[in-house]
């Protein structure tokens, strides 16, 4: 899932300066799962904003709503009735959602309440870790399902560097050396021959080269 972290409260307050009636819009997708952008987060942030503005004698009227996903036009459409009655949208979605809302409602200021941080998963409730860097060229076949691009601090593709000590990375003793994990797993799966296959330099053209990427399913095109 896409992980988002809430921006500092002061930054959000500053963005909303001058606004009187806003929509605080949650997203029912990834950010609900990582507890930062769902319905609960909408209620908490709205309550904080109301109190903060009330305290300064500058009340803020807030409409609270959470839609299924903000990265799909059909769901973003669902707020069209509300948009006419407000002067700004504070989106608790990832950067994609914020942009979709902005694109659909060109005259409406849309602000991000989250910093979109990484693509990851849950280690336990409320604890999320990065697992993918969306480089666009998966090497997981060679590396026993552990990504060296996202999890090795240097994104090395052919084994560990000299900074690997007792299975930990030199950048932080809390960080596992991805290559230690890969080799341990390849050994346990009896697949060490894959380690001996040299992975060529990564083709970063599939990553961010050439501007924003697209993925098109031909059979869905009309």
């Amino acid at each position: 899932m896409v992980i988002g972290e809430r921006k500092p409260f002061e930054e959000i307050v500053k963005m909303l300066n001058g606004h009187k009636k806003i929509l605080v819009l949650g997203c029912g997708g990834c950010v609900t799962v990582c507890l930062t952008g769902g319905d609960d987060a909408v209620k908490v942030l709205s309550s904080q904003l109301r109190m903060s503005r009330e305290k300064d004698n500058d009340p803020l009227e807030i409409t609270e709503k959470t839609i299924e996903r903000q990265c799909d036009p059909e769901y973003v459409e669902q707020i069209s009735d509300i948009v006419g009655q407000i002067d700004g949208v504070l989106s608790l979605a990832c950067g994609v959602g914020v942009q979709y809302v902005a694109e659909r409602y060109p005259t409406m200021p849309v602000y991000p309440a989250l910093n979109t941080t990484f693509v990851g998963g849950s280690k336990k409730e409320g604890y999320y870790v990065e697992r993918c860097q969306t480089c666009g060229d998966c090497k997981l076949y060679y590396t026993a399902g552990i990504c060296p691009v996202a999890r090795c601090s240097k994104s090395l593709l052919n084994g560990p560097c000299g900074g690997s000590t007792n299975g930990k990375c030199e950048i932080d003793p809390q960080v596992d050396c991805a290559w230690q994990l890969i080799i341990d797993r390849l050994k346990s799966l009896n697949l060490m021959d894959r380690y001996e296959q040299i992975i060529e330099a990564n083709d970063w053209r599939s990553s961010r080269d050439g501007g924003p990427r697209t993925m098109i399913r031909e059979d869905f095109q009309r």
Partner: protein, 146 residues
């Protein structure tokens, strides 16, 4: 400020603090009338939204009273509540309220005197802090909190 009577909302677990409040009453113990008790099935029910709403509606102080650690009727509800209360302290601090306006206490149903003591101490604490900046007029806040 001498005549300031704070509004304090106490979220009390049915299996401990609520029983302790009952016992305090049976024992004829006096404690300040500023406390508004809201009974919960367990403090594990407490969420930041619930606590924020109490402040938003004009409470000057809020506390959560759950079972002694290790004694939760639902095994670990009070241990769920504890970090939530601490997290909510940060949330109210961001808004500009003192984090001391929110607290969590632990007690058993047999601790009637402790319930009265907590009520007295917390009321004194809130009186020292003064009214919440979100409280417009005392009567309006009382009405809304009720």
């Amino acid at each position: 400020m001498a005549d300031f009577e704070p509004i304090i909302v106490a979220f009390c677990c049915h299996y401990c603090a609520y029983g302790a409040a009952d016992l305090a009453g049976s024992m004829r113990l006096e404690y300040p009338p500023n406390i508004r008790i809201i009974r919960l099935p367990c403090t594990g029910k407490v969420t930041p939204i619930l606590l924020l709403r109490a402040f938003e509606k004009g409470a000057d102080g809020v506390y959560v009273a759950g079972c002694l650690e290790g004694d939760c009727h639902f095994i670990h509800g009070n241990l769920v509540a504890k970090p939530r209360v601490n997290y909510t302290k940060k949330l109210i601090q961001e808004v500009g309220l003192e984090p001391e306006r929110l607290e969590m206490f632990n007690m058993s149903a047999a601790m009637g005197p402790r319930f009265a003591e907590v009520a007295r101490e917390f009321t004194e604490r809130i009186k020292a802090l003064g009214p919440s900046p979100l409280r417009k007029t005392q009567s309006a806040a009382t009405k809304e909190a009720a």
